[in-house]
């Protein structure tokens, strides 16, 4: 599926958070969204998935969800949003319970998702007894289990160690190869964006506007190879400069 963001602006009361955002997320594309803290990334994602009504503009979708998709627009939330009164398995099952699946299939899907994220042995543990990274992984499992058409990922790997992150990135790319899920991915890790994204959108400081769109013009499979290191480093530098400009401007504003 394809997402079209048309002239979206948003303000929380008197605080303008987004202004004039036009964006097209192509079918099967992974689009990373980066920008300074508090610039409106999460807000934009909420608008894209129909969870928040923008004060201006609209979001449209084109195409039909693939067969087997239970929830076209699916989130991984920045703050995980786990139900504290449900176990890990219960939290993942929540996404399936209102769909007509057999008990066995539901159980199977949950078990598969939990073993993907490496929490099978914690299936019956309550979120309050998990570490931060474990909670985040439960949120990921819950999103994967519904086979989404568009994944809306809000810093999905922020609480994970480098190695677990790497494993999950590989898992995710394998899934993506199979289903060609469209994904919008917020991150503050440039390396992660450069691993995953087809294009990287840089937002300005609040109120967030699109400052630049950077295409990652290296085939995804080749990005970890030594040959690509130069190009990746160059892109990294470009993004870094774009972000620094914003930070400098923000600092100047503060000083004034």
């Amino acid at each position: 599926m394809e997402l079209l963001v048309e002239g979206v602006g948003h303000a929380f009361g008197a605080l303008p958070v987004l202004e004039g955002v036009d964006l097209e997320v192509r079918a099967g594309e992974i689009l990373s969204l980066i920008g300074p803290s508090g610039c409106g990334k999460s807000t934009l994602l909420a608008i894209m998935g129909g969870l928040l009504r923008p004060t201006r503009g609209r979001v449209a979708a084109r195409g039909t969800p693939p067969a087997g998709c239970l929830n076209p627009f699916t989130y991984v939330f920045q703050d995980f949003a786990l139900l504290p009164w449900r176990t890990v398995a219960g939290n993942v099952a929540l996404a399936l319970e209102h769909h007509p699946l057999s008990r066995a299939e539901r159980r199977e899907r949950v078990a598969a998702a939990l073993s993907t994220i490496g929490l099978a042995e914690f299936a019956r543990t309550y979120p309050g007894r998990l570490s931060g990274g474990m909670r985040q992984r439960v949120g990921i499992a819950r999103a994967l289990v519904v086979r989404p058409a568009v994944l809306l990922l809000d810093e999905p790997l922020s609480a994970l160690d480098a190695q677990t992150r790497e494993l999950l990135i590989e898992e995710f790319l394998a899934l993506w190869q199979r289903d060609r899920t469209t994904a919008v991915h917020i991150t503050h890790n440039l390396g992660e964006a450069l691993r995953l994204a087809d294009r990287i959108v840089v937002l300005s400081r609040r109120p967030g506007r699109i400052k630049a769109t950077v295409a990652v013009d290296v085939p995804r499979e080749g990005r970890t190879r030594p040959e690509a290191a130069g190009r990746i480093a160059a892109l990294h530098a470009v993004l870094w400069d774009l972000l620094r400009e914003e930070a400098r401007a923000a600092a100047r504003e503060l000083a004034a």
Binding site: L4, G49, G50, R53, A60, R62, G63
Partner: protein, 262 residues
Amino acid sequence: MSEARSVPFRGGGFVLRPRRGLSLAALAALLAAWQAATGSGWANPLFLPAPTTVAATLWELAASGALTEHLLASARRVALGWTLGTAAGLAVGLAMGIFSAARAAGLPLVSAIFPIPKIAVLPLFILWFGIGEPSKVATIAAGVFFPTVIAAFSGVDAVPRTLVRMGQSFGMPAWAIVAKIVVPGALPTVLAGFRISVAIAIILVVAAEMIGADAGLGAFVLTAGNLMRTDQLLAGVVVLSALGLAAAGLVSAAERLLLRWR
């Protein structure tokens, strides 16, 4: 290529907005239903006189000054009893929320004493507090005490323990943790408890004023009942209701002020 359709909006809802007009309409509807019930004969006017009749009675009472006298006497008792019962209830309830020993000892006592009907212990109240104001205030305070205790310790139970650990990590003394973390965290539940306890305090003014009261809405209502003056009885009830509405309004205001962060 297929048509682009707006992404369906799924958010919203589950957020409450005040609708003052509707609140007033609800009260008006209550009055209208009452009027209709008496008009249609569904409720016997002997036991439920029409609101117009009750209004007339109220007007008379107000004109004679009796209403003010009764209202003031009762309101003072309610205010004093509620304040005492709430203060004691919060102290005990917080202790039961914080200390295992207080909880273990207090919970069975609360569970055993709360369900004792007030009228069964009125003679004891007279014995201990006499027939003056103290026994009336004590009756109301006792009725308010128990629900407040329960609300307070349940509220404390709901405070996330990570916040307490945070306070400890900053070397906050225990009293500061209680005052700045436990109490504010318990506040939503405690305020819900207040909503219940103000109503109970008003209900109990009737039981309290069984004990040698000259003035007061409770005594007035009881006397009206003994004499089968249902218009006066209902007039008294309407005033108690209004008192309840006013008290609930104060709780709502407190919520708006103290729970702004929600």
